[in-house]
């Protein structure tokens, strides 16, 4: 699990961990049932107070993102929660902002852009279907 903490940006260290774990889950780099490093191990790796790691894990547990399994460790929850959805939308929002800025640069109107998105969606959806038909045909 790739986590980086810094005291330069001022935000509390436990919150930096919470946000980064949320991001890793949302981005799929942490999968359901993946184990988080034990508190002590992460504390020694990041050189931070173990109580801080414990607090971050507690917050993640309260948010339903991770589950404690007794003394066995802390695992990424199997079910996706609305909070994860929110995180995923946040990641997409950043991409969309770039897209909107580029569309404006290229003089593509908002309606044209929306139409293009719908078009691309149709093509993407039809292609796997076409691939399935083809593979079905060869197997017969």
């Amino acid at each position: 699990m790739q986590i980086h903490v810094s005291t330069n940006d001022g935000s509390p260290i436990y919150l930096q961990i919470v946000n980064q774990v949320k991001y890793l889950i949302a981005a799929g780099r942490l999968q359901p049932n993946d184990e988080l490093p034990p508190i002590r191990v992460l504390a020694e790796r990041l050189l931070i107070n173990p109580n801080t790691v414990a607090r971050a894990y507690r917050e993640l547990e309260t948010a339903g993102l991770v589950t404690k399994r007794g003394t066995a460790g802390t695992y990424v929850s199997a079910t996706r929660t609305p909070l994860v959805k929110q995180q995923r939308l946040k990641i997409l929002s950043a991409r969309i902002d770039v897209l909107l800025a580029e569309a404006a640069q290229l003089d593509v109107s908002h309606d044209e852009l929306l139409a293009l998105v719908a078009d691309r969606q149709r093509i993407l959806k039809s292609e796997p279907a076409a691939a399935n038909r083809n593979s079905g045909a060869t197997s017969q």
């Binding site: 005291t7 001022g10 509390p12 504390a43 020694e44 990041l46 050189l47 107070n49």
Partner: protein, 309 residues
């Protein structure tokens, strides 16, 4: 029975109204602090703020002229054996006997502490790459700090006291020292008191912080509380101003013209209302680092002191 109660009390160190002067110079003025069991307590302050003097009181090397110091409920001056047998310490000057070889230093220290853990000591010696046949005086500054750390940790003391442990050391030795603090505290029920002027280190590992300035306690509290009650607000005013407005809770201002940034202590909602009341727009807010809080707090205290005198 009473001793039993004291042993179980929540505070490992209890400092009450300790005052100390060296000649005419006041080194500590009515310092009261309590260090709860199981925390990392960071003592911060500029050079000459009184950190080392306070630590020397905790270790029983100085007797309080006024006030009292209790460690594990005992007076470290009256009962040095009862206290120091449970304390591991490392100081900046690190007064290890230079003529001893590393191996001799380990056996020598072991003789004083029944709780010495030979396996752990050997593990640390290897991790720190300390050659047992080398004399202490021939070790580099960093290696000497590691040797000091080894003998402070190997009997697994209940309380680890570090006075400016990383002062003047390279980043790799500093990592070893921070690692030792983290491992010590990860062992249930152990406590660490350490002083440092590197606020980044303190912010990383401490649960509690006390700030000394010119022998006085500037402020003390749990790290989470300190972080939650301090804010950095950037305000934009309609008109350029020569001076920032008077706002309650502001410790320090920086800026010019229309844009000013305040480091404030207090409730965020109230601060925003007060700022808007002054005709300002809050354009940015973020939590300050411990370093910024320290500079602002000390600056505010000194300004007030000047105004009074």
């Amino acid at each position: 029975m009473i001793a039993q109660n004291l042993e179980n009390s929540e505070s490992v160190i209890e400092i009450e109204r300790v005052t100390r002067a060296f000649g005419k110079k006041m080194a500590l003025g009515e310092i009261s602090l309590s260090v709860p069991r199981g925390v990392v307590f960071g003592l911060v302050g500029a050079n000459g703020a009184g950190k080392t003097t306070l630590i020397r009181h905790v270790l029983g090397l100085l007797k309080a002229q006024q006030g009292s110091v209790r460690v594990f409920g005992r007076d470290p001056v009256a009962d040095p054996v009862g206290v120091l047998s449970r304390v591991g310490c490392l100081s900046e000057e690190n007064d290890l006997p230079g003529w001893m070889r590393v191996g001799e230093l380990m056996r020598y220290t072991q003789a004083f502490y029944p709780g010495w853990d030979e396996t752990y000591a050997e593990e640390l010696r290897r991790a720190f790459a300390l050659d047992p046949s080398v004399r202490v005086k021939h070790l580099s500054k960093g290696q000497r700090a590691r040797a000091g750390l080894l003998i402070a940790l190997a009997y697994r003391p209940e309380l680890l006291v570090l006075d400016e442990p990383s002062s003047g050391l390279d980043p790799i030795v500093r990592r070893d020292i921070l690692g030792a603090i983290v491992r010590t505290i990860a062992d249930e029920g152990r406590t660490v008191l350490f002083s440092s002027h590197l606020l980044d280190e303190v912010e990383r590992v401490s649960d509690h912080v006390a700030m000394l300035d010119q022998g006085r306690l500037a402020f003390a509290g749990a790290m989470d509380d300190i972080k939650q009650t301090h804010h950095r607000l950037t305000l934009v005013f309609a008109e350029a101003r020569r001076e920032p407005p008077a706002l309650q809770g502001v410790l320090a201002w920086e800026g010019a013209g229309r844009q000013w940034t305040a480091l404030v202590s207090g409730r965020l909602a109230e601060l925003r209302v007060a700022a808007i009341g002054q005709g300002a727009q809050v354009v940015d807010e973020r939590p300050p680092s411990l370093d910024e809080i320290f500079v602002a707090q000390v600056g505010a205290i000194r300004t007030t002191a000047e105004e009074v005198s």
